[in-house]
C-alpha cells in the first residue's frame, strides 16, 4: 500500500526504483558468478523475448480470393524430402518433424515415445549425438541419422539402417559451439555407446574432424552417398547465423535438404551466454534461406526445414508461408511428452525452480524422467502414453495449420505464401520481409509509410 495512503502526513518521497538494465535476473547472475567463478550452463533455447511468429498475422480470404470449406474441402499436408539426388526420398504425411535429440541427453523411454508419436502421425524422428538406439530405430518408421562432429556411436551399419542422414554443422542454440554432456548422465550404456569412460564429462567437438569448409563438405557428402549407394537423402543442418550463405553453400555442396535452426532451438546443455547472445531468431532466417534457394533455382527442389520455437499450427503455417517445406520441433515435443509438467511441481521446487522454468537438463535430475539417465526417474515416462500425447499434439498442430491454410484459400499447406502474411511490428516486418499490417511498407525494401 502506498505510504501516503497509510499515513497521509508522511512527506512525499521517491519510491524505490529497480533498474531496467540491472534487473533482478541480472543482479542475481552477477552475484552467482562472483560466488562460483563459473558461467551458467543450462538446456533449452533462447528465453529472451524475440521477434517471432506471434508478430505475424495471416490474411484470411476476402473478395480478392476465396477460402476453402473447413470440413469439406481437402487441404494437403504431405511433404517429400530428398528429391534432388536420393533414390529413396522420404515421404511424410505432415510437414512437422522431430528434431535431433540424443540418447544420453534424453532417456531411452523418451526416445521411444518420440518414435511412437512421430510414427503414428507419419513423420520422422532424428537421432542425436551418441548414436542410434534400438528404442528409437525400433519405434520410428522414418529415422534421420545425425552425422555429428564427435561421431560418437557412428557406424556404417546404423547409417544403412537410417532413412536419411543429417550432417550437423551447427544448431540454433549455439552456432559455432560444441557440446558437453556432464558426467552424471554418462551411464554405463551411454559410455559404451560413445567409447568413453563412465562418469566423465563428455565433450562434443564444434568442428568435424575430417572436413573443413564448403569444398570439403561437398566431398564428404559424396562419400556418404557412396557408402549408402545414393539411396538416402542427405540433410545439412546449420544454426542460424548467416542463413543466406550457409544455405547456398549447403546446396553447392550437394545437400538434398537444408535445415536451418534459429536461436530459440533447444540444446541439452550450453552456456547461457551462448544461448542468449549467439545466432539469430528463427523469424530472421527463413526468407534469407529461401532467397538463397530461389537465387540458385532450387526452391522446392532442395527442401528447407526450419526449426527453433515452433509451438503450434499457426507457427507451422507461417513458417511454410515464408517458404519452408517443413518444420522441426524439439522443445515442444518434450513438453508434449511431459517435460516441465506441473504434476512434478514439488520436485521442481526442491531443485530450486518451478514447472515451466526447469532447464537444468544437463544435471540428469529431471523429475519428468525425460532428460535423465536415472533408472528410477525414467520409469515415469510411459513410452506408449507419452507417444500418444505427442501424436495428439502433432495432430492438433496439423489441424491448426490446415485451418489457417483453408482460410487463406489453399488446398495444400505448401501453397501458403508470403503474400498471406503481414507483420505486427516493424522488426518482424523487416525480418520476415512482409508488410507492416495496414501498410505496404516492408522495412528495407519498399518506401516509407
Amino acid at each position: 500500500m502506498n505510504e501516503h495512503v497509510k499515513n497521509p502526513n508522511a512527506a512525499p518521497r521517491t519510491l524505490p526504483r529497480e533498474s531496467a538494465t540491472f534487473d533482478q535476473h541480472t543482479l542475481a547472475e552477477i552475484r552467482r558468478a562472483a560466488a562460483t567463478g563459473i558461467y551458467d550452463i543450462r538446456g533449452a533455447g533462447a528465453k529472451r523475448k524475440l521477434p517471432h511468429f506471434d508478430d505475424l498475422l495471416m490474411l484470411g480470404a476476402s473478395i480478392s480470393r476465396y477460402p476453402l470449406e473447413g470440413y469439406r474441402e481437402k487441404c494437403g499436408t504431405d511433404v517429400v524430402l530428398g528429391t534432388r539426388f536420393a533414390k529413396k526420398p522420404i515421404e511424410l504425411k505432415i510437414p512437422i518433424t522431430i528434431a535431433g535429440m540424443s540418447f544420453g541427453s534424453l532417456s531411452g523411454p523418451a526416445k521411444e515415445a518420440l518414435g511412437r508419436g512421430a510414427s503414428q502421425m507419419g513423420t520422422s524422428t532424428t537421432t542425436g549425438d551418441g548414436g542410434m538406439t534400438q528404442e528409437e530405430r525400433g519405434h520410428s518408421k522414418t529415422l534421420v541419422y545425425q552425422y555429428l562432429p564427435s561421431r560418437y556411436g557412428m557406424n556404417p551399419d546404423d547409417i544403412r539402417k537410417a532413412d536419411a542422414i543429417e550432417v550437423v554443422v551447427g544448431q540454433g542454440a549455439k552456432p559455432g559451439g560444441g557440446g558437453m554432456l556432464l558426467g552424471q548422465k554418462i551411464s554405463p550404456r551411454v559410455a559404451k555407446m560413445r567409447t568413453l569412460p563412465e562418469g566423465i564429462d563428455q565433450r562434443s567437438a564444434c568442428r568435424h574432424p575430417d572436413w573443413t569448409g564448403p569444398d570439403d563438405l561437398e566431398i564428404k557428402i559424396e562419400e556418404l552417398r557412396e557408402i549408402t549407394d545414393w539411396e538416402k537423402p542427405i540433410y545439412v543442418k546449420v544454426g542460424a547465423s548467416r542463413p543466406y550463405y550457409d544455405t547456398a553453400l549447403a546446396v553447392k555442396a550437394g545437400a538434398d535438404v537444408v535445415v536451418v535452426d534459429g536461436m530459440q532451438g533447444g540444446t541439452a546443455a550450453t552456456q547461457e551466454v551462448f544461448i542468449e547472445h549467439v545466432g539469430i531468431p528463427t523469424l530472421a532466417c527463413i526468407r534469407n534461406a529461401v532467397k538463397a534457394l530461389q537465387d540458385l533455382g532450387m526452391h522446392r527442389k532442395v527442401q528447407l526445414i526450419v526449426s527453433g520455437g515452433i509451438r503450434n499450427g499457426a507457427d507451422v503455417a507461417k513458417a511454410l508461408a515464408l517458404g519452408a517445406d517443413a518444420v522441426a520441433i524439439g522443445t515442444a515435443a518434450l513438453v508434449a511428452l511431459g517435460d516441465n509438467d506441473p504434476q512434478w511441481e514439488d520436485e521442481y521446487q526442491k531443485l530450486g525452480t518451478h514447472a515451466g522454468a526447469y532447464d537444468d537438463w544437463h544435471e540428469g535430475l529431471d523429475p519428468a524422467g525425460i532428460t535423465t539417465q536415472n533408472a528410477e526417474l525414467m520409469k515415469r515416462v510411459d513410452p506408449v502414453k507419452a507417444g500418444r500425447r505427442l501424436a495428439n499434439y502433432l495432430s492438433v498442430m496439423t489441424l491448426e495449420a490446415q485451418t489457417i491454410a483453408r482460410a487463406c484459400g489453399k488446398s495444400h499447406v505448401h501453397n501458403l505464401e508470403p503474400e498471406d502474411l503481414v507483420a505486427l511490428t516493424i522488426e518482424a516486418a523487416a525480418m520476415a520481409q512482409v508488410p507492416l499490417a495496414g501498410t505496404n511498407w516492408i522495412p528495407g525494401q519498399t518506401g516509407s509509410f
Binding site: 561421431r151 557406424n155 556404417p156 558426467g183 568413453l196 564429462d201 574432424p209 557412396e226 557408402i227 549407394d229
Partner: protein, 235 residues
C-alpha cells in the same frame, strides 16, 4: 592367391567410382570375388568407401579423400599416397598406404589397422575410437586430438600439440614430440606396453629390427575429465 579366388580388374579411367563401390557393396557373404585390382585412381574420392566384406582391394596409384571410409572387414592396399580422411571411421579390416597420408588419417575409426609407410599430416587419429594406427614416418600437428581409444604408433616425430584433450588412447612415439597438447603427458613404458608395441612392429613388418625401448608412451593425465573452473586456462 587361392586358385578359386576370382580377381576383378577395375580401371577408373574408363569406369566410375560409383560403379566400383556399387560392385564392392553388392558382394555377398561367401563370395569368392575376393581380389579387386583398381587402376588409374588419379586422386578420386571415396574409393572403396563403405565396403562390408572380407575382400582385398589393391589400388594402383594415389587416392583422394576418404578412401576406405567406414571400412568393415576389407583389406585395402594403396600403392601411392592418400588424401584427407583415409579410413575415416573404419570399423575393422586393414588399410595399408605405401606413400604419405594427408590430414585426419584414421579419424574417428573404431577398429581395424591403418598402416602408413610414409608420413601422415595434421590431425592423424583425431577422435580415434579403437583403431590401431601405425605411421612409419612422422605425423603433423594436433594428432590424436580427443583420441578416445586405440593406439597410435609413430616411428618418426610428432608435431605440435600431440594428444590434446586425449581420453584413453595410447600413443607411442619413437622420435621427438614438438609439444604435448592439453592433458597429454608422457607415461611409463611398462612391459605390457612394450608387448603391445611389439605386436604393432609385427604388423609393420619390422619386428626384430627395432627395440620397443626406443619409444616413449603418451596418454591422458585425466585432469580434464571433469570440467573445473580452475582448469579453464588449460583450454
Amino acid at each position: 592367391m587361392n586358385a578359386s579366388t576370382q580377381s576383378h580388374a577395375f580401371d577408373l579411367s574408363s569406369s566410375t567410382v560409383r560403379e566400383l563401390n556399387s560392385a564392392l557393396h553388392a558382394l555377398k557373404e561367401g563370395s569368392n570375388a575376393s581380389l579387386w585390382r583398381v587402376t588409374n585412381p588419379r586422386g578420386l574420392h571415396a574409393i572403396a568407401a563403405g565396403v562390408d566384406a572380407p575382400v582385398t582391394v589393391e589400388v594402383d596409384g594415389p587416392v583422394g579423400y576418404y578412401c576406405g571410409g567406414m571400412n568393415k572387414h576389407a583389406t585395402i592396399h594403396i600403392r601411392g599416397s592418400a588424401g584427407v580422411g583415409v579410413a575415416q571411421n573404419m570399423m575393422s579390416g586393414f588399410v595399408h598406404i605405401e606413400g604419405d597420408a594427408s590430414q585426419a588419417a584414421g579419424a574417428t575409426a573404431h577398429g581395424g589397422t591403418l598402416l602408413i609407410e610414409g608420413n601422415a599430416a595434421a590431425r592423424c587419429g583425431i577422435s580415434m575410437k579403437g583403431v590401431d594406427i601405425i605411421v612409419k614416418g612422422s605425423i603433423g600437428h594436433m594428432s590424436a586430438f580427443m583420441a578416445q581409444a586405440g593406439t597410435l604408433t609413430v616411428f618418426g616425430d610428432a608435431g605440435e600439440a600431440l594428444g590434446d584433450s586425449i581420453y584413453e588412447a595410447r600413443l607411442y612415439v619413437r622420435g621427438s614430440v614438438k609439444s604435448l597438447g592439453s592433458d597429454c603427458v608422457e607415461k611409463e613404458m611398462r612391459d605390457e606396453h612394450k608387448a603391445q608395441l611389439f605386436e604393432r612392429f609385427k604388423t609393420a613388418g619390422v619386428d626384430g629390427q627395432i627395440d620397443p625401448g626406443e619409444f616413449k608412451r603418451y596418454g591422458s593425465a585425466r585432469n580434464l575429465y571433469h570440467f573445473h573452473v580452475d582448469n579453464a586456462g588449460a583450454y
